[in-house]
Symmetry: C2
Subunit: 418 residues, 2 copies
């Protein structure tokens, strides 16, 4: 969508300059001011829910006219319960410990220097998202908590909802005496704004894309600034020969069917050959009975698997299943076909679990637990701005703490280097 | 320099594939194996110093024929003492605690999950450097210690010295049973190899350039992979009105004159107006007496400063000096002209020092200490692969620990998400 009345490069340059200027002030905003901004914003959202719902109705109408899928429409839609959950998220982030200024580590040197490593904000975060209006509040709040400025670019579908929620965040900033430019929402639906953001080196320190593979892939390919993201969540579960029957049946069912559309949903079972005919087949039968299409090799599934099923993210009631010779073969399969997001081992054998933890290198490794726990809230972060599968800076769920950097504060007493 | 016999893209693709394959193995190499590789390499370097010095003589001859500056020739030259210091560096890194596998943090969740954050290697590091042969050993050793594979691309001037040192590192890897591809040296002087490295996304996780502003600037501008670097070290010293006379005189003299060519050398003094005529002028006079050219505004220096002196990295016996209205003005000057490397405040006023630490955001902030302490060794890291002024992942001196990432290891007991 193009907006012919707006000079997008000029608009984005102004937004960027405002963010940079505010970042220096936000970096030493007091924990109380930040918590107050979040609480007031939460109050404003709850008090203003009628108006937010009206704005959301406009978006829903636009979405229908654009022929959005039912899944997209569902993500877009707000109701009282969803607004309540946005408000709860803000309050939970407000209540978290402030990460900025914390002394992460400190030590003395023989020179007499005392060295502290102290947590600081990253600076300016860009968030590019699609239809979920709650991202406006979650991402804005997490960036604010960590002392950052954020430039939010919501999807054109959620334009009115995001604008209404953003207005409440601004109320919070005003009430706390913090700069308005701490949380900016790009005020146009023109897609050129995204291209500008991806090239704003020197202004944006990191970009977080939230949405489908198309959006994330484009951002990863084109961004000139660092990106925290995961392109796919191809989560594997290795069912070891020493797996407990009941735990394994329960965990696999949960990991596949609790919600199929999230990045932590299991997409491939690897079954040790010694239990293929026993527990392995039973779990496959469980899944088929629950309505899951199992594409199988070595066990009897719904249909035979072919090579294209390895490394596939279905996000649906479909799963691949493969019998493997041993744990090494399972590791090899995960290394070859995984997306470094989340993998689980089901076993009562502590040695096998330790090997799984040591030898694999996904962002999240689970032992006897459902891959659906791959989520910032379930990790105790209050909320998450996304899940990162890269190895630079932030890995796994990205909360306020992962949106910080550090500096060294060094104390001497007229100390000189010899 | 071009090498017409070599297909550089094919060569670099092979080196990259070897590094990726070895990285999976290195990631769970035992701490003992890594320490052994480093000790054996140290022994091999000391035992083989005659041969290393002969190789170095070839490089010196090449350097003379190319008309390298005296400073470059000095960096290039090896002697027994410098080889001893390379050996000491390897032994010190060998003796350090192994960072990989350490549990950084751990907590329980109400769901029953136990979550550990565990340190892991980054993967594959690319190091692009100029004439210092010791970088081959330091960078190779730090990457190895952190369980990474490294691709070293030394300057054409130090080609023979680097090759000889690299051979000793390979001896260490062999003795410890570790893959040779853990430390690869690009075996050509062809500059096209650098361009290839900068574009090896998917293979190289981070590039560390070591050298002058020309090299670092080119890498920062052209790299498609993340970079740990500092372009300049424009270090400021703010002499507060409450500075102690003797400490201030001693620290400024050390920060400017101990070594002028390093990135931690002071380049600009900011002097509170209340002490401009007293301590400020005295320090300027000290510096002039020591042979430093002081380009001054508000005090009497060697010559008047002009606008081009703010934010200038002299790397020489030259310093800028400016009288400021108050601490806020000093902070503003540093924000406008600093390079986020290292700044110091000299004061006996704890409140002023706390403000300096809170409100500025350089990688290193010092109180009553010389900026020349900006160094991995002086921070207790044994050695450093460089100093980073960016805020992503690593900041300040980059040692083995900064060359790691983390993963989450999560333990349940058949735990499912509701």
């Amino acid at each position: 969508m193009k907006d012919h009345d707006t000079n997008i490069p000029a608009l984005m340059a102004t937004i960027g300059a405002n963010a940079k200027a505010a970042a220096a002030e936000m970096a030493f905003a007091s924990p109380d001011a930040k918590a107050k901004a979040l609480s007031v914003a939460a109050d404003a959202i709850w008090a203003g829910r009628e108006s937010i719902l009206s704005s959301n109705a406009l978006d829903m109408e636009f979405g229908r006219s654009k022929g959005l899928s039912a899944a997209m429409m569902d993500r877009l839609e707000l109701d009282d319960a969803r607004i309540q959950s946005i408000v709860d998220g803000l309050r939970s982030i407000a209540a978290q410990e402030d990460p900025v200024g914390a002394v992460i580590d400190g030590w003395e040197m023989p020179s007499g220097l005392h060295i502290d490593r102290v947590r600081t904000p990253l600076g300016v975060i860009g968030v590019i998202y699609e239809s979920r209006p709650n991202v406006t509040a979650d991402a804005g709040a997490l960036c604010l908590k960590a002392g950052n400025c954020v430039i939010l670019r919501g999807g054109s579908e959620s334009f009115h909802s995001a604008t209404a929620i953003h207005a409440c965040l601004l109320e919070g900033l005003h009430a706390a005496g913090l700069p308005e430019a701490a949380i900016q929402l790009v005020p146009t639906r023109d897609r050129a704004a995204v291209g500008e953001m991806l090239a704003m080196t020197g202004v944006i320190d990191v970009i977080v894309p939230r949405g489908g593979k198309g959006l994330v892939g484009r951002v990863q390919a084109d961004a000139r600034v660092p990106v925290f993201a995961h392109l796919e969540g191809i989560c594997h579960i290795y069912i070891d020969k020493d797996a407990d029957t009941e735990k394994a049946r329960k965990v696999v069912m949960n990991a596949k069917t609790r919600r199929t559309g999230i990045c932590g949903a299991a997409e491939c079972l690897l079954i040790h050959k010694d239990i293929a005919n026993g527990l392995g087949q039973q779990i496959v039968d469980d899944l088929i009975a629950a309505g899951v299409e199992v594409r199988a090799e070595g066990v009897t599934g719904s249909v035979p698997a072919d090579a294209s099923d390895w490394g596939k993210e279905y996000l649906d009631m479909i799963i691949a299943a493969r019998v493997v010779e041993d744990q090494d073969a399972a590791h090899d399969h995960i290394r070859n076909f995984g997306s470094s997001h989340t993998e689980a081992i089901l076993t009562e054998n502590a040695k096998a679990a330790a090997r799984f933890f040591n030898e694999l290198d996904s962002a999240i490794l689970m032992h006897n637990a459902s891959t659906q726990f791959a989520d910032g809230g379930e990790f105790g972060m209050g909320a998450e701005i996304g899940i990162a599968t890269g190895k630079m800076h932030a890995r796994g769920p990205v909360g306020a703490m992962q949106l910080t950097s550090y500096k060294y504060c060094v104390r001497g007493d007229g100390t000189v280097r010899s």
